[in-house]
């Protein structure tokens, strides 16, 4: 039987699809697909390696000319600072957003590091000795700020790595989350100010000669410390590398290391190495930001595609009822056509001058056979609906209602139907086939949408659940459509009866057989404020 095959096919397509969809959603709930959680692909690893190698090559190429003096380029420091400010701000914003999604303190640390970098560039540029006259040729303030900047950034990365592994997976309530972001931003702002104040203050408070000697004496130590710190951060990142973000942070650290090496190597300002060092770090930061942004966009596109695929899957599931109805109608029309044609033929044979009774008899036999065939078809539909007793599980109909409302959400929105749900939270469980009841509810909701499609306003779908004594659970689906003509109210559950211009008229018939197969009943009545109310009552399992 063709239609049974289609029905089974539909069911088969149903369950794995449904399960797959749940599985994906489950995975999504557990771990959002983000740059900070997603492992890097091979291509990404190769790209990162290529960038690091390029930076190294550039570094090696610069070394021979590193000490060649270039002279003071007035625009360099402001331009560099502005670029660093913008890049660091955007990167930190990107990471703060990741933090707000993943709720991981490690991300807060690294985004804080970037924000600090962004903020510190302002005093860094302003205190640059040669920018506003030669007020501070020793460069103490500027030097201190530079060092603190280079100190804080690797520290934040180290903090990120260390916090990453002992993550207590907890969901921050959103007010706390935003508070944390604001607080850290404010704290960093204050910290940057403080650093600036201290750095400038130091120069005025201490005898410049002494300070100069301290800084000078510590220069080598400072450099070693910064270099070691950056190396340590890089090593840590390498040992605990997992995500796309880890990969690109490694690239940034390489950029930083190259910058430090060049600066240590040349040891003075305004030579090729000094400029090149800044440029390399800027380039690596920019590349990383570009990559992070493009990865985010690609990730978004991939997710959007999979969400689309999932919703198509859902729509296909909703279609099952239509497909089933269509195939039933097709199978039903075959014997019906045979009956009608045979009856007409028989009438003609009878109406001949000499009635051909043999032909009449043959036609009547055919009519009888076709009628039996139609009966068998109906028996098999009922059997199909009844068959799956084993799929019955204790169900909370409230959950079912919520689930179906999510499934039909788009359809409801598209038709601008507002949904009012009143669920009795103390509903006993019902032993039922989830997919079948889902189909019933989807069908009732679709009918309600269709009924309200012609009406202007208001379009309200009201779904209620209630305890129906004795021992029953009632679900009602009410619409504000044009209601059901009392003359046809007795026929609407009949197979092939339809008032729709497009429709097979099998939906309600199948709904009723499903509900009756569950020892329940499906009824329709007129709504209080017009429209139709479909209600079904199912027997409850033993009260929980």
């Amino acid at each position: 039987m063709k239609f049974r095959a289609i029905a089974q096919n539909g069911a088969a397509r149903d369950s794995p699809g449904g399960m797959a969809a749940t599985a994906t959603t489950g995975a999504l709930d557990e771990q959002p697909i983000l740059l900070s959680t997603l492992p890097p692909s091979r291509g990404q690893k190769r790209l990162a390696l290529a960038i690091v190698l390029l930076l190294l090559a550039a570094f090696c190429a610069t070394v021979p000319f590193a000490a060649v003096p270039v002279g003071y380029i007035r625009e360099f420091i402001p331009a560099y600072a502005a670029a660093m400010f913008v890049i660091s701000s955007i990167t930190s914003a990107l990471l703060f957003v990741q933090f707000s999604v993943v709720h991981s303190r490690s991300l807060l640390a690294v985004s804080g590091g970037y924000l600090f970098s962004a903020l510190i560039t302002i005093p860094w540029a302003l205190t640059f000795p040669d920018l506003f006259g030669a007020a501070d040729m020793a460069g103490t303030t500027w030097g201190v700020i530079t060092r603190i900047w280079r100190l804080v950034f690797p520290l934040s990365v180290i903090g990120y790595i260390l916090l990453k592994d002992d993550e207590a997976k907890r969901a921050w309530p959103s007010p706390l989350l935003y508070f944390a972001i604001l607080l850290s931003a404010a704290a960093l702002f204050v910290a940057a100010d403080l650093v600036t104040w201290l750095a400038t203050g130091m120069r005025e408070l201490t005898p410049s000669g002494l300070m100069f000697s301290v800084i000078n004496r510590a220069q080598a130590d400072w450099n070693a410390l910064l270099l070691l710190l950056a190396l340590f951060a890089l090593a840590l990142l390498w040992s605990r590398r997992r995500s796309v973000l880890d990969l690109w942070l490694m690239v940034v650290m390489c950029g930083l290391l190259i910058e430090l090496c060049l600066i240590i190597l040349v040891g003075r300002r305004y030579v090729v190495g000094w400029y090149a060092a800044r440029v390399y770090f800027l380039v690596s930061s920019t590349l990383v930001l570009a990559v992070l942004l493009s990865e985010t966009a690609l990730l978004y596109a991939r997710l959007a595609r999979s969400v689309m695929a999932e919703s198509r899957e859902r729509e296909a599931r909703l279609m099952t009822m239509d497909v089933l109805s269509a195939s039933i109608a097709h199978e039903m029309n075959q014997p019906l056509a045979s009956i009608v044609t045979n009856a007409d033929a028989a009438a003609r044979w009878m109406g001949r001058p000499t009635p051909d009774l043999d032909e009449v008899k043959a036609s009547l036999g055919q009519i009888r056979n076709s009628a039996y065939r139609a009966r068998d078809l109906i028996v098999s539909i009922r059997a199909m609906v009844k068959r799956d007793d084993r799929n019955r599980t204790p169900l909370d109909l409230n959950d079912l209602v919520r689930e179906v409302l999510t499934l039909t959400e788009r359809e409801l929105q598209r038709n601008r139907v507002s949904v009012k749900v009143e669920l009795d939270e103390h509903l006993p469980l019902v032993n039922a086939d989830q997919v079948q009841l889902q189909q019933v509810l989807v069908n009732l909701i679709t009918n309600a949408i269709d009924a309200m499609a012609e009406k202007k306003w208001p379009r309200i779908l009201r779904i209620e659940s209630a305890v129906q004594e004795p021992g029953g659970v009632l679900i009602s689906v009410a619409d504000t459509g044009k209601g059901i003509d009392p003359q046809i109210v007795d026929r609407i559950f009949n197979p092939l009866f339809t008032t729709k211009s497009s429709g097979m008229g099998m939906g309600l018939a199948i709904c009723r057989s499903i509900i009756e197969a569950h020892d329940g009943r499906l009824q329709v009545s007129a709504g209080v404020e017009g429209g139709a109310v479909f209600q079904f009552v199912l027997p409850a399992t033993i009260a929980r």
């Binding site: 056509a337 045979s338 009608v340 044609t341 045979n342 001058p353 055919q366």
Partner: protein, 160 residues
């Protein structure tokens, strides 16, 4: 003669149709040897009961009728040359109705085709009508509609 007139009158009363409109239906029942002269209708449907029902209706009208369970069988048969009208199902295993129409046209045979289907689709209807089908009926169809289409097919056949 009197009998014939009486029959005509009776049929018209019963069916409520004027004689002019129904002339082919009033053709007397033909025995096998006469069948050769009566227009032949070929009926193709994979559903046996439907096939027999249409055959019964068609022969009650006085036409000759051949039935085929598939389009291939019809195309291979010797009745192809003297078929005045084809009544065919649309969805059939093997060659479907549309392919049958195509294949007949490819052979240069412009036999009037009436499609009957339990799965009417506007797209398919438009397609077969475009290709020159005589009619497109959805099952269950009114016998009168089919009869009118057959009459039209026979009329068209006479003219050419």
């Amino acid at each position: 003669m009197i009998l014939a007139v009486a029959t005509v009158t009776y049929l018209c009363c019963v069916q409520g149709f004027s004689p002019a409109e129904n002339s082919p239906r009033l053709r007397p029942y033909v025995e096998d040897e006469q069948l050769q002269n009566a227009p032949i209708i070929s009926i193709i449907d994979d559903d046996e009961s439907m096939r027999c029902a249409i055959k019964s209706l068609v022969t009650s009208l006085g036409f000759g009728a051949y039935t085929f369970a598939s389009a291939q069988k019809f195309l291979q048969s010797t009745h192809l040359d003297h078929t005045s009208c084809v009544i065919t199902d649309l969805q059939m295993p093997g060659l479907n109705g549309i392919e049958l129409q195509k294949s007949l046209l490819a052979q240069g045979r412009h036999i009037p085709i009436i499609f009957v289907t339990a799965f009417p689709e506007e797209r398919l209807r438009a397609r077969v009508m475009e290709a020159g089908a005589l009619g497109f009926l959805s099952k269950p169809f009114e016998s009168e509609t089919l009869i009118k289409l057959i009459d039209k097919a026979i009329e068209a056949g006479r003219k050419t």
